[in-house]
């Protein structure tokens, strides 16, 4: 998930990356100031990630705090050869998805119907019109109305830039179905946006 690292750290430069490596290393050795620095750098992005993935602002605030508690506990498990942001988002994604799962999301539907995605070729003109008419706020409002898994899949892919492998791991689906989950989520989003437009 190198893309996530770069996209979400706000355009990392070589110097910043080197700094981050040192800071993480110091935090692993128990340096409280280093940990504070990691928190300051990443907490806003993680909060926004949680805000997109979870139903309410309060949920996102709580989840951000809990994720950083987990991160501090697990810092020793971090493999420094991998991008720190990737690891951070993996922990955050797992936490958010666990949080949603604990609310008894129906597991029977986890992969149900996934293979039945019809092979369609929608009208590009209609899709273009829909995309052109929507503002960011309308998209976010529609996202909030999506079922948990669909929203989570879109957030992992288009906010956190996670790879299909990582999304499959986080959502507990086979990698081959990630594309279907994403496309189905986009269809649902379009339906909601069309509904909003009619209203």
């Amino acid at each position: 998930m190198s893309a996530a690292a770069s996209a979400l750290a706000g355009g990392p430069k070589q110097q910043a990356s080197t700094d981050l490596g040192e800071i993480v290393s110091r935090a692993r050795d128990g340096d409280a100031d280093a940990w504070g620095e990691i928190y300051k750098r990443h907490a806003p992005a993680i909060y926004r990630f949680c805000r997109r993935a979870l139903p309410t602002r309060e949920d996102a605030e709580d989840a951000t705090g809990e994720i950083f508690l987990k991160l501090r506990d697990r810092l020793a498990q971090y493999d420094p050869t991998r991008p720190f942001s990737a690891w951070l988002y993996k922990v955050a994604a797992n936490h958010c998805w666990d949080s949603l799962r604990r609310r008894r999301i129906r597991q029977a539907l986890e992969t149900g119907g996934i293979e039945e995605m019809p092979l369609e070729h929608p009208d590009p003109g209609e899709l273009n019109r829909l995309v052109d008419q929507q503002s960011g706020e309308q998209i976010r409002r529609a996202l909030d109305k999506l079922p948990a898994r669909a929203r989570m899949a879109l957030v992992l892919r288009y906010y956190a830039d996670m790879s299909y492998d990582e999304i499959a791991d986080a959502l507990g689906v086979r990698r081959a179905f990630v594309g279907v989950v994403l496309l189905r989520a986009r269809h649902q989003l379009r339906e909601i946006m069309l509904g909003q437009g009619r209203v």
Partner: protein
């Protein structure tokens, strides 16, 4: 794969192409096709536009990050002072609770006829209701097991299991309860009906359970007898314990074990082998009656004309003693009269509003020590604050354990406590015990009913922790980390105790003060139970995936 229908690629393939998820050979085919096919190229572009829109919409910072998150986690000094202080005070509180309250009560219970057993254990675990737990026998063993289980669950979570063990533990506990429950009914006989009678020549093998209007035992019960009825009459022989709940009871036969009862009017004219524990409006121990062990009774009117082999521990409005007490007498009440036929072999102490009236003919081992209970209490500031500190430490310990074991649920309950829906607790607080008592009246429902009552008691106690944390967050805002959470919990719990102390400092009459404080704790219990119900509902509510 070729384009569908031999002419165009489907949306799925184009999306995978955009997302660079196709194998190179297949991607090359798609690339070549969209160059030539306008319809597929337009769909490709539209999908790309949609992806870009999704990315930008999600990354727009339309609302600020909460200030408390930006403040950061705060410096970590390496030494968890908060933890040390919390656990230290909890430990000190636990020790003081034991040394200052439980141990004397246990000693007192021994004096009062509950043997050398723990009072709580006797009530909860040593009755026929709970025979399946007899192997535990002792409340401290139960606590030790519960603590071990809690620690194990905590380490299980820390070991990285992503599936919370709470549900599994709860399930295991309930399973254990139901597996153990049938033991209570092994070798027992149950009768239900308007009028139930065990005839003179009849012998019940094992324990006997009866639910009826009029219950008469003229024959023999080989085991324990547990009776729920309006009018109860025992003229036969109960070889085990006798436990009854009724309106009017007359026991004139023989009971080899203990008697434990809740009854409006009770008359005992029997030979009881062991001890008697009785809650009754009126209680009379008749002249010919004898209790081999001790008597513990709480009544409005007590008349003790018979013989008690060991100690008497009694609370009453008016008490009259005209019989024999082999051990100590410890009584508390409004008025005590010691008649001419009374014989007290041990020391006697009475705490009441009036000095006891003692007949000159009464045979006493010594003067009855009298302590007058005044309407206005003497306020001992040190004792008061120390007891508050202990109570606070206990509640904090429960809160800390709850946060460690069920952080997610804890957070949900606290959030629910900040919502108006938690007023639902005003129905749950009175409703659950009423329901539990009704369930108890069916035989199979006894373990469920008793279990529900125990859960209700625990929930009432735990409610202060959730309500306290919610109040703390109301004062200081949401906590960013656990230290902050514990700080808010502590502040909230202190605030609750501060409000509960107001009647004491205003020196309101005792009854008014008691009622005010009770109302406050009922309100907190209802509030917390409502929050728990909401949080559990939230977690068990199914959400659609697709």
């Amino acid at each position: 794969m070729n384009p569908i229908s031999g002419s165009h690629y489907d949306e799925m393939t184009l999306l995978l192409f955009i997302e660079q998820q196709l194998e190179e050979e297949r991607a090359a085919g798609v690339r070549a096709h969209i160059t030539a096919c306008e319809k597929c190229r337009r769909l490709h572009d539209a999908l790309e536009g949609e992806s870009a829109l999704l990315r930008s919409a999600m990354r727009e910072e339309e609302e600020p990050v909460p200030a408390r998150l930006l403040q950061g986690p705060g410096p970590d000094h390496g030494i968890p002072w908060g933890w040390l202080l919390g656990l230290g005070s909890a430990g000190a509180g636990a020790y003081t609770l034991w040394a200052g309250i439980f141990e004397p009560v246990v000693r007192q219970a021994g004096v009062a006829g509950l043997g050398q057993r723990n009072l709580v254990a006797t009530f909860l675990f040593d009755s026929v209701f709970w025979k399946g737990w007899e192997s535990l026998m002792d409340f401290s063993q139960f606590l030790a097991l519960a603590t071990l289980g809690s620690v194990a669950a905590y380490f299980w979570r820390r070991a990285g299991s992503r599936r919370t063990p709470t549900a599994a533990l709860l399930l295991a506990g309930l399973l254990g309860l139901f597996v153990s429950a049938p033991v209570a009914y092994a070798a027992s006989e149950t009768r239900k009906g308007d009028s139930i009678k065990v005839g003179e020549s009849e012998t019940i093998r094992g324990d006997f359970f009866a639910f009826g209007n009029d219950i008469t035992i003229a024959g023999t019960v080989d085991g324990d007898a547990v009776l729920f009825g309006r009018a109860i009459e025992i003229s036969g022989h109960v070889k085990g314990d006798l436990i009854f709940f009724g309106h009017m009871a007359q026991v004139s036969g023989q009971v080899d074990g203990d008697i434990r009862a809740f009854c409006n009017t009770s008359t005992l004219d029997a030979a009881v082998g062991k001890n008697v524990t009785l809650f009754s409006e009126d209680f009379r121990l008749k002249k010919k009656a004898s209790i081999g062990g001790s008597l513990t009774s709480f009544n409005s009117r007590l008349s003790l004309d018979g013989r008690v082999g060991r100690d008497v521990f009694a609370g009453f409005n008016r008490g009259q003693i005209d019989g024999f007490i082999g051990g100590e007498l410890k009584a508390r009440g409004n008025e005590l009269v010691v008649g001419p036929d009374a014989e007290l072999a041990g020391s006697a102490r009475f705490r009441g509003e009036k000095e006891p009236t003692v007949s000159e003919k009464a045979k006493l081992a010594g003067k009855i020590a009298f302590e007058r209970l005044s309407e206005r209490r003497e306020f001992n500031a040190f004792k008061f604050f120390w007891s508050q500190l202990i109570s606070l430490a206990g509640a904090m310990a429960v809160g800390i354990i709850a946060v460690l074991l069920i952080p997610g649920l804890f957070s949900d309950i606290v959030k629910s406590a900040q919502r108006p829906g938690s007023a639902l607790g005003l129905l749950i607080w009175p409703g659950l015990p009423v329901l539990a008592v009704f369930v108890c009246f069916t035989l199979i429902g006894i373990p469920i009913g008793v279990g529900a009552l125990m859960i209700w008691c625990m929930a009432w106690y735990a409610a202060q922790v959730f309500v306290g944390t919610a109040l703390g967050e109301l004062f200081l805002g949401r906590a960013a980390d656990r230290k902050g959470l514990f700080l808010r919990m502590g502040i909230g719990l202190v605030a609750i105790r501060a409000v509960a102390s107001i009647p004491r400092f205003l020196e309101t009459p005792r009854l008014t003060s008691f009622l005010l404080i009770l109302c406050l704790w009922i309100l907190i219990g209802a509030w917390g139970m409502g929050a728990m119900a909401l949080a559990i509902h939230k977690r068990t509510r199914p959400e659609p995936v697709f």
